[in-house]
């Protein structure tokens, strides 16, 4: 049984206007029928453009918001079925690392206090390491414990957030764009830290990112999202070497050094950038797809198995006329 499993999870938001002005509202389908499974100790990367719903998916997996439909299972518990006290207790076992560490930290509390706060909230969880050890395991000087977040550098702050997430020794961590707010030089250090912690602690994680190069370093598997749907999923190595979905191909082709063996076919996307409030009919990718057929306008393809441990949602793959740039 996987540790975390999303079964047909959908999330709709209402946007625009106030509660009094229902006329001007639109519904945004941030996540539309996502199926995912993360095994113990495994790292799944979720990639896609901004606004494709990957952060929402991450929050749904942690039960931080209820899904509009579908369900999220954590270690056999349906998160939506748990009451809020039970869900809070379960939080000792699942944590979130944020994109912007400065926002995620209380500006008026010393980082030492903040790091141990999860163990104060969950007295039964973790092995209650002292602050100094928690800091040391994320590579921070224990002398920093008395500092406040604004006195630290961006990389140090993110280490503090990671240390806080590690305090209760969780089984599952969602990393939501953990390095995209950092300088490039610091990114590499934080990525190395995350990878080291994964090996040392063996927690399962979902790594949300738009940077495919980062993903290749930390993830075992990758799921590609487009407009709230997972269009392709599989082992990182296989997907990057041989992307099946035209969108994945476009993403990978845009990063030259990602797949040096792959013949460079520049897949250029056309049309408007995706607007999650107005999702096209049929395959949502068809207005921008370089190889769209007539059927793509009307038929939304289901995700089907395509090779070992892989799946893809594309009508051309399903019908056997696989479109491969490097054929």
């Amino acid at each position: 049984m996987p540790l975390v499993e999303a079964q047909g999870v959908t999330k709709h938001f209402r946007v625009g206007g106030s509660a009094f002005a229902t006329i001007s509202r639109a519904t945004v389908k941030a996540v539309a029928g996502a199926d995912l499974a993360v095994d113990r100790g495994e790292t799944l990367a979720v990639v896609g453009e901004s606004g494709c719903g990957k952060s929402t998916l991450g929050r749904l997996l942690l039960g931080l918001m209820p899904p509009s439909s579908g369900r999220v299972m954590f270690d056999g518990h349906d998160l939506a079925g748990l009451g809020s006290p039970a869900l809070r207790r379960l939080r000792a076992r699942m944590q979130l690392v944020f994109q912007n560490p400065l926002q995620a930290l209380d500006p008026r509390m010393s980082v030492g206090e903040q790091i141990v706060e999860p163990t104060v909230i969950h007295p039964a969880a973790g092995n209650r390491l002292p602050v100094a050890d928690l800091l040391a395991q994320v590579g921070l000087d224990p002398a920093l414990a008395g500092r406040f977040p604004h006195q630290l550098s961006g990389g140090q702050r993110q280490r503090v957030v990671i240390a806080r997430a590690m305090a209760t020794q969780p089984d599952f961590i969602v990393f939501d764009e953990p390095v995209s707010a950092l300088d490039v030089s610091v990114q590499a250090q934080i990525i190395r830290l995350i990878r080291d912690l994964q090996t040392a602690r063996g927690f399962a994680s979902v790594f949300i990112s738009h940077d495919l190069r980062v993903v290749r370093h930390v993830a075992d598997r990758v799921a590609v999202m487009y407009l709230g749907r997972i269009v392709e999923e599989g082992p990182v190595r296989a997907v990057f070497a041989e992307p099946l979905h035209p969108y994945t191909q476009a993403l990978i082709a845009a990063v030259p050094r990602l797949a040096p063996g792959m013949r460079r076919v520049r897949v250029v996307l056309k049309g408007e950038p995706p607007n999650p409030a107005a999702i096209p009919s049929g395959c949502p990718f068809h207005p921008r797809c370089p190889v769209a057929e007539y059927d793509c306008r009307t038929h939304a393809p289901a995700r089907v198995a395509a090779g070992p441990a892989r799946s893809v949602a594309c009508i051309r793959v399903a019908s056997g006329s696989t479109f491969l740039p490097a054929a």
């Binding site: 000792a92 995620a104 500006p107 008026r108 010393s110 030492g112 999860p118 602050v131 008395g146 006195q151």
Partner: protein, 299 residues
């Protein structure tokens, strides 16, 4: 927890550095702000020590010494700032007026901050329809001059001291509500409160330990910014004869009483006018400066 405390204790330099930064902001205080702060301190001192400072009782009448000019300007009278039409010492009356005006303004400010903070937190916590309804009330209050609201309440419920304190307290509650709601919503959606929920903290812990601590600075600045208005509402109502009632006295009431004698006894108006003007001006200047140097965002 203990480990955090010891760790904090091992790095005293950082806390000191923090303090140094604050101190340097205070050192570069402009002269006008310095003056304003001194005046405010003087007023608070006068308010506390009023019974000992005032040479006469505030209602003590000396019918033979009516409308005497001030000794301060070289006249041969027993009153430093002169006496009024009933032979009461203007200085003593001003000191007692300061006391009452400041007591009402402080109590009112605290009431307003509590009410506004509660409303703002509720709106931010409940979201949805409740938030819309509460913020609508805030908008209504903000779009109407508070004086009208205050007069309406006095009209319908008559006049008494505690009602006055509550009315003064309600002046500006909507600003606290807006400020607090904005800060809390930000913390709850993208900030530390959202992070704490992900960690598993309950609302009580988040509000008690984190949000309250974080909004205190902004609240204090907002209180300073609102203080002049609370004073103006009280003195204004008292000036209109609808606030503090004789024999009690307040700055507005003193100025109102002095109006009839201004042609023959200018000194009755002088002291309360100067005190009222300097006090509101000082608080305004200090409040503006505090807002500028503090890093809190006020809308």
């Amino acid at each position: 927890m203990t480990s955090a405390e010891t760790a904090a204790g091992t790095a005293p330099g950082t806390v000191a550095a923090n303090r140094r930064r604050k101190r340097s902001a205070f050192r570069s205080m402009p002269f006008s702000v310095c003056l304003g702060a001194c005046w405010m301190a003087l007023m608070f001192a006068a308010a506390i020590a009023a019974p000992w400072l005032a040479p006469y009782g505030y209602a003590e009448q000396q019918p033979l010494l009516r409308l005497k000019p001030p000794a301060l300007f070289g006249y041969e009278t027993p009153f430093w700032l002169g006496s009024d039409h009933l032979g009461r010492d203007v200085l003593s009356r001003v000191i007692h007026a300061i006391r009452l005006s400041i007591v009402i303004a402080v109590a009112g400010t605290l009431i307003g901050a509590c009410v506004g903070t509660a409303v703002g937190m509720l709106a931010a916590r409940l979201r949805g329809w409740w938030e819309e309804a509460l913020m609508m009330l805030v908008d209504v209050q903000a779009s109407l001059p508070f004086m009208i609201f205050a007069l309406t309440i006095v009209a319908f419920f008559g006049n008494n001291f505690w009602l006055l304190v509550i009315i003064v307290g309600l002046a500006g509650w909507e600003r606290y509500a807006r400020l607090v709601r904005g800060l809390v919503v930000e913390a709850e959606t993208t900030g530390y409160a959202a992070a704490l929920r992900a960690v598993g903290a309950d609302s009580w812990r988040i509000y008690r330990h984190h949000i309250l601590r974080n909004i205190t600075g902004a609240l204090l600045v907002q209180m300073t910014l609102n203080f002049p208005e609370t004073i103006m509402i009280e003195t204004g109502l008292s000036f209109l004869g609808l606030g503090v009632q004789p024999p009690l006295t307040s700055l507005g009431l003193l100025i109102s009483e002095s109006r009839n004698y201004i042609a023959i006894a200018w000194w009755i108006a002088l002291a309360p006018s100067i005190v009222a003007a300097f006090t509101t001006l000082s608080v305004c200047v200090v409040g503006d400066w505090l807002r500028d140097v503090s890093d809190v965002r006020l809308r």
